[in-house]
Symmetry: D2
Subunit: 435 residues, 4 copies
């Protein structure tokens, strides 16, 4: 069998190809002269599978798509407090190159606008590193996100430097507020070099998948940034990534995203997938016209909107029955599926309502596919409370989906299948009566 | 066993109780004189369980918390196009009572600011309904969300009317742009009456859970608004619900939310839970001080942030093996857990990479807890493609998690357990070779 | 001889007549349907001569041109402090119907924008007067400026009331800030009635001339508002009267001015002239297109720009000579022209440098045409100082241009011609030698 | 006699001296450490008399007071169109260091804010001059306004350069809009050097007097900038010179003015006087606290407000009589004072109403002190019209106040006194009857 995903990608690219509206970015010749018909798309899964179609290996400059990744690097290198002291997280409702500084403090409103991104660039690496070291850290960090060493487009870089007046204006304004504390021209140059790194659509999909995968590059398996950084980065992409079109994007597409003026566009579904598209013609917001269309299709076809209510899961409690009889009876509650707060609450309720009369209670986790942190804690609390009430509690957990089950003050026996439980009961009874 | 959830609620209420900062809303005596020490919280699950603690049955006026619900009613009654033509979805980055109209059109930026909410009120019910009918529809709709008939606080309403100058200003401004097309004073009065409905914390949790539950009130089981409305409402709450604190809330709490000046605050986790808190002292943004603290706790303790990457699920492909041998051999691919796009992609890959030599292929869905729409379509496409390649395909689906498995051009046999499949194979062979 | 001024007016009207650009105000039929070809202009001098040409007797609604006059009435009726507490004097740089309230206080930025004009209307008459009394005072006051009883256009008024949404919005916003302290709808109605008064171009010229003439209507001779009010009104017209075109107007025309949407436009040159034009087609700022052209012509042709440096005056000291000889010698300093600070300073210098050795000093004011307040005080100080030094001082002032010449501590003799002075000297000497 | 003007200056300085509110500019040590008690004031008349008191010879940096003078130089060097294409004339209503560029064009709103002043600096000298030549032209130009060679404070200049981040930001922003077309850092450096020129209060008064005196330095007698530039510069000072306090200043002081952060403040009364004050402590607008008080005093004590209605001048028609009788009769209309439009209009009327029956008409200008351009043209038109009607017209103009009296199509005889006129009549009659 052939996978239908490449077919799907090919199909959607064909669907948007006739749209030749918009125009390439006009401010430097390298962008203005890009072949406007280029069109590519790629998906990268959190376990490293990449699907790519069209001009997915064409290189182009990363531009503003570097912003969320460099924000992640800054958070990783300096910590949340140091970064938040200099760059806010509020949507500006304005275009990407508006200065948008907070009254008084001069703090850029968020890291997705240029003012915030320039500041963020200055916060990568250890404090006090020189501009060359810092740039090296940025290049290496972005390369780690992509899973290969990225190169700079010196021609784009030179042109951008020659037209950097607005960014230099922003840099000096930041310097005047002591948001930048060094020569603004040097920081702006570093930022421009960051934006001039060459990527392919495929690279961008892997980078987005690294964000979706708790900071671990699914190809290399390396932890690029620590996990706590991701929630912050994805939240900021969701609220500020699309500038003044944030609301339309949030309602209609609902995928945290970021675009670049060279025509790239990425989106990240936490825990699921990284998506990238490439087509150089831009709309009035500076975002790829066909890229926007593709993301609308992806969101709608694949149910990827973050506010999409997931399908009603099969009840987390698969069965609740008594195995054996008399003193040998075991109350067995069988769970299934992925368990998050809403599921574990249902388990609590089942146990409470059952009020098991049996001495022995087993929670069968064999068919459970995932357990999140709060659910793990609450399952252990169920065990603890049952133990305190005098029950003997067994977890049937052949694949250790609930690792380290040591509830404070409780006691639990872990077995691989329910048969063992029955055996254990028999063993116990042969030994000594429980207190 | 006693449930630990009430204990948890009691514990977090105790934790925030000492915080007496902030002040009750001062603009009308009914709000100014509210007992400031009141404190309550409630959770409502999508299957109708309500946990409530503290002053969870104290009544207070719903105020701005009515906005997302009335927006849902307007979308349901008039359709997306009619509503979007008059109210946008962009965050304003401004306080709730800023006028914030789009330049030119005069369209309010979003339905969570007063200008948008007044307009939204005017769009409830069938076009041309008179103000009394419209108000009745609003009251009945909000009551349906709450699952009980809500009453109006006439005293609050009268005071609000006497201090409605700013809302009247907004109303006349909307009228001047033809966003409102009737007497603005009448619409503002209706809006004020809407805001004066009395609710309890418990009610609000159920209302929020109705949003989380695809528009179905989990207590009454009634579909209050159609499902497609929900994604829109939740997206707008996520981006615009907290006004000028949107970014802080999105990064730190990450729960679509809405607050009211009487001290109420709600949050909705799609598919999981509705949350409500009540405490009358407000911060500078007009949001309950203790309510904000409680939501920070809930988000952090229970992993409820929408950008929280869910725990790595157990592989969706539980096993891939051959049962039987020779011509009787069946390739059995056993799936598990909840399947969304990222999961079904893994299934596709498994089938592609396996390239089964066996004539018979079975997909065992017994341990699958949910299948979303795109995954359902892709599973059926797998079936279709395997069939086209000459395989006989069997679905093991005892609980019909994949209803209506009629892939275009394919053929599939559905059985309750794998044993049946073996039997079928034997039967087939006894009969006649397949075409 | 025929006066050339009517010829000039006719000529300039012919010059602008071919310009049919712009459009009548479209928001109410009465304005939209005005005959667009109407064109008139009038000058009124401060001594009551009116020159008028074209459609100078056609009636139209006064609209925003009422604003400076009603501001004058409010200042007259309530005093500067009470009015300034509620309406500022800062240019808004925005269009006439922007709300433009000061952050915090809610005070309208100036009385020429609608928010300020509505507030100003509420401040006419004695505090506590009812709306009908107040409106009567406004109508009577505007009529006193015009020198005839003005009538209201009830049809315009009714239409304006039906389209008053924006003004009502402003009114309620002002009420919400307690800038208005009564029902805003009543104040807005009064304001609209004020704007609906019918005037002719001739009337407007007389009204403008009353502002130029220290508040005295040059036709009726009545003091309509007290003199100190005028400087304030003219200053505010100069800085705020042309809204967002203030700078262009100030540099190119330089005449304090105010326009109305019915096509009227007035300008006032303090001490010299009131000008009015009428032509209904408006530019993007809401100002009469041909009116603007006419004012450019008037300013340039007649040197009416307030920053025009006046022609170098003939030296204020016409002659400085000694009449007679020996003990009979009189030092005679002959002055001429209008004397303001710069002139009197020159007189001081002349006296200081002359250091007259003669016992007798005469200041001959026969050829002086005016003396302002500071000059009067300084002339008297010269007299006082000369007297203290032992000089006998004589003023030759046949027309009492320097009334009440009683310098503190000095002594002065006033005569009608220099001959009398010589006689006096002779008389004195015949009497007794001076100390 | 001693002049009372120095006494007056000393008196007002003593009056404001106790006010120690405000603070010196804090951003560079040279300004922060200025002796805060310094206090000086000076008047310079348009004929070159300078009165100065207090610390009137202390040097300080000119700072923003250079702006109107450099604007004048740019207008002189490049013409109005070239300058207006790059710098507007609209008040910004904002603080001096706001960027305040027009949407779209990026043109600074006016030349008094930094963005406009930096642009203006770039427009001095011939197009294409190098930065050093341009700076030399600025220094020489400002020195010409002052009447002495000004020196630069290198220490202030170095400090300003080190803290120029905001001006550099503005410069780069202007460059990004192509308002500047060269390296912004070079222009900003030039601008900072311009602001670092050292002046005394006495210098500033002379500079202001040069503006008042049609561009002619009253000390040196040199024409520093051409006359048409002055109206533009003074208008812009009047509307934009005091930034966000423009309205208060315009109503209460009414003198076109400009302040600098070193504590200087100048004002110009066209045709009359230049005023300067110096005191380093600044208010919230960045203007000298005592300077503001002093200007309030000057305006009020000396009637210097531009909207002050001048004193009613003695009637411009001093007498209207017939001299001689029978065929020898001459109609003599005697004029007096300064004649501007309002005066000449009165003369026209007198002639029209008189409708002289006499063949001979004389206009006696002996007592006229000034005649502006429009009045000159109208007087000649009177002559022309009288001539056409068959009158013989004589001007009695001993001091040639009406030079070049050659009315198109008319004929006029100029005499030194009325006696000559009678003689002429006699002569004529003796000769031949006129055609």
């Amino acid at each position: 069998m052939r996978s239908m995903i490449p077919d799907y990608l090919t199909d959607v690219l064909e669907h948007v190809e006739p749209d030749t509206s918009g125009a390439t970015a006009g401010y430097i010749p390298e962008l203005a002269d890009a072949e406007p018909e280029q069109l590519g798309a790629a998906f990268a899964t959190v376990d490293g599978q990449v699907y790519a179609a069209g001009d997915c290996d064409a290189e182009f400059s990363i531009q503003s798509i570097s912003k969320p990744f460099v924000y992640a690097l800054a958070l990783a290198d300096r910590g949340f407090d140091a970064v938040l002291a200099r760059v806010g997280v509020e949507p500006s409702g304005e275009a990407f190159n508006e200065i948008s500084l907070e009254g008084g403090s001069g703090r850029p409103l968020n890291p997705m606008i240029n003012a915030g991104a320039i500041t963020t660039h200055s916060l990568v690496g250890v404090a006090g590193s020189d501009p060359a070291e810092r740039l090296e850290r940025v290049v290496d960090g972005l390369s780690a996100f992509a899973g290969r060493q990225l190169e700079m487009d010196e021609s784009v870089c030179a042109s951008e430097m020659a037209f950097a007046h607005r960014n230099l204006a922003i840099g000096h304004m930041l310097r005047s507020h002591d948001i930048l504390t060094e020569d603004p021209a040097t920081v702006v140059e570093g930022y421009i070099r960051q934006c001039s790194l060459l990527v392919t659509t495929r690279d961008l999909a892997v980078m987005a998948a690294t964000l979706a995968n708790r900071g671990v590059n699914p190809l290399s398996g390396k932890q690029v940034v620590p996990e706590p950084v991701l929630r912050q980065v994805l939240s900021v992409m969701a609220t500020c990534g699309m500038y003044d079109a944030a609301g339309d994007w949030a309602t209609q597409v609902g995928i945290p995203a970021k675009s670049g003026v060279a025509g790239g566009l990425i989106g990240t579904l936490p825990g699921q997938i990284g998506i990238a598209t490439f087509s150089p013609r831009l709309d009035a917001h500076g975002t790829s016209v066909r890229g926007v269309s593709l993301f609308h299709r992806f969101s709608s076809d694949m149910g990827l909107h973050v506010m999409e209510v997931p399908p009603a899961a099969r009840a987390v409690v698969r069965s609740n029955r008594v195995v054996g009889s008399g003193p040998h009876a075991i109350r067995v509650i069988e769970l299934q599926g992925g368990i998050r707060f809403a599921g574990v609450e249902r388990v609590v309720r089942e146990v409470v309502e059952t009020a098991p009369a049996e001495t022995r209670v087993a929670l069968d986790l064999t068919m459970v596919s995932s357990v999140d942190d709060v659910s793990r804690r609450m399952l252990l609390e169920i065990v603890r409370r049952l133990t305190l009430e005098g029950h003997g509690v067994t977890l049937v957990d052949p694949e250790s989906i609930l690792p380290g089950p040591h509830p404070g003050g409780g006691r639990v026996t872990v077995v691989n299948d329910l048969g063992e439980t029955a055996d254990l009961v028999a063993d116990e009874e042969r030994a000594a009566p429980r207190a």
